[in-house]
């Protein structure tokens, strides 16, 4: 592996945006880090101190093979072991829609991290709205490609829902960005009517200062 390899080519557009919010040299925990592409980029490109948690043993092996510090386990079981403010950023990328207790998770995430970065597929995207309206079937899209009976995505979240959630649950949204993506990993930022046009929402959050 040559050290000159440009790391940005290896990560998706949404991951690139997440990475752009992270200060160099910070401590980052990626919950559900997959094969570790984002962490690998952050470690080599931004010198962050990385930790990942991944449920799949095969993906965990892939992460450790990249030289990343990753723990094979369930995020709900692994989070409680960390002390308060252990990390500068805790990332929950495209996983919130699979979580049983989202409010509890967000609270613990903001207990162990000074800031949280949460991204999820936007269920109010126009394709989803149109599919439901015209076909009458539960929508299937590139972002949410499962049938209702085999999907790991047990929750449907919209960008507006997440903003409302922040007020109900009690956390502060520092930044948000809405995007559409292409099959090859590239993407575009959506500025016009994100609730209608965006496929994903990405939020930078922190604890409420009371």
């Amino acid at each position: 592996m040559s050290p000159q390899k440009p790391f940005t080519k290896n990560i998706r557009f949404d991951q690139e945006l997440i990475a752009s919010w992270i200060e160099p040299g910070s401590k980052v925990l990626d919950l559900g880090c997959g094969e570790g592409d984002l962490l690998h980029f952050l470690k080599n490109g931004k010198g962050v101190e990385e930790t990942g948690i991944e449920l799949s043993p095969e993906k965990t092996v892939a992460c450790i093979a990249k030289g990343l510090s990753v723990i094979h386990g369930d995020i709900n079981d692994e989070i409680p072991d960390y002390p308060d403010d252990k990390f500068d950023y805790v990332i929950l990328s495209q996983t919130l829609q699979q979580v049983y207790e989202p409010a509890d998770l967000i609270h613990s995430l903001l207990r162990i991290g000074r800031k949280g970065i949460v991204s999820f597929p936007n269920f109010s995207n126009w394709r989803i709205r149109l599919q439901l309206l015209t076909t009458g079937y539960a929508p299937i899209t590139r972002q949410l490609p499962y049938e209702w009976y085999d999907t790991p995505n047990i929750r449907v979240i919209t960008i507006k829902d997440f903003r409302k959630f922040s007020r109900t649950v009690g956390f502060t949204i520092l930044k948000e960005i809405a995007i559409t993506t292409r099959r090859d990993g590239a993407g575009t930022i959506v500025k016009l009517m994100p609730s209608f046009f965006a496929e994903f929402g990405i939020f930078l959050i922190e604890r409420n200062h009371s």
């Binding site: 930790t51 043993p57 450790i64 093979a65 990753v70 723990i71 692994e78 002390p83």
Partner: protein
Amino acid sequence: MSEYTEHHMNEISVGMVEKKFYTFAEPPCEMNLESGHKLGPVTLAYETSGTLNPDKSNAILILHALSGDSHVAGYYQKEDPKPGWWDIVVGPGKGIDTDRYYVICSNVIGSCMGSTGPGSINPKTNIPYGLDFPVVTIGDMVKAQNELIEHLGINKILCVIGGSIGGMQVLEWSLRYPEKILSAIALATTPRHSALSIAFHEVARQAIIADPNWKNGKYYTGPKPDLGLSVARMIGHITYLSDESMRNKFGRRLQDKKDFSFNFDADFQVENYLRYQGKKFVERFDANSFLYITKASDYFDIAAQYGSGSLAEAFSRAKAKFLVVSFTSDWLYPTYQSRDMVKAMKKSGLDVSFCELASEWGHDSFLLPSENLSTLLKGFLGCVTSKTLH
């Protein structure tokens, strides 16, 4: 651990290796043991492969399990039917790459594979120690290894690696000499020996002690307690396998017969296998060493020793970067024991990676060919190396 898989000379290998010896703690400067007793002189048998770099920063110490020895990889001579016990992992381009690292493996004290143990000559009596050999601990084994490392002029070990009782030594190293190791890999091991594991060891020891040839450990001039030791090995072997692997390997198949014998010969393949393993073991292992090493692992409890009962407090002494690996079908040191360890390391703020690998082969999995395990070792070591060598 059981017998490793067969290999051939034409496979990639470190080639010829040599069994070396280092003797220290000559009286009156004997080694102080945890029991309060003294031991000296102490000899360690060891093996090295690869090349130590000029700044001595590429040393890896491999720690063996119960019945292992210092012969970790390669061959003593061309005619050897088998290479060292972890040849699948240690060698040029392998998981532990001898082109990059200087690999050291030493035989534990208490063993019978070249290091000082109950079968060695007691200089005070000029006959083998037998039960006059003091009971040693995992801590004592590590203390002796540290003498060897100092003798080799190495101030900082890049990584200590071991499985099972070797894994216990890894944990001990990380707490006893936190400044001396940069990283640690603990495979299929436990931070404290459970009641279940102690129970199996005790049954195995009682099999040896009940053998009339054992004679309170004074059997070195006469017949050996082979029967007891082979039963002890058979018990051990059961705990190294798993329900699934035994079902797949033997099932209820009969050995060379179509019907039951209606006597107490080995009817089933599994019986035959265990008898064979037991018989093979007595040819190479000393019964007293079996007693001493199993006792050492039964005493092992790092929470009690270093953390007043708290694992997290124990690990707060450690500084190494850790990789912990467990195997799904290991019921001797099940995954929950590795997870306890990882939890404590996280609470102590240590840098730890953990993976439970799927394997049907039980506790023995860490000794068997596994692409996943080699990938983990390579990735982890590569990361530690790039941090230190630049």
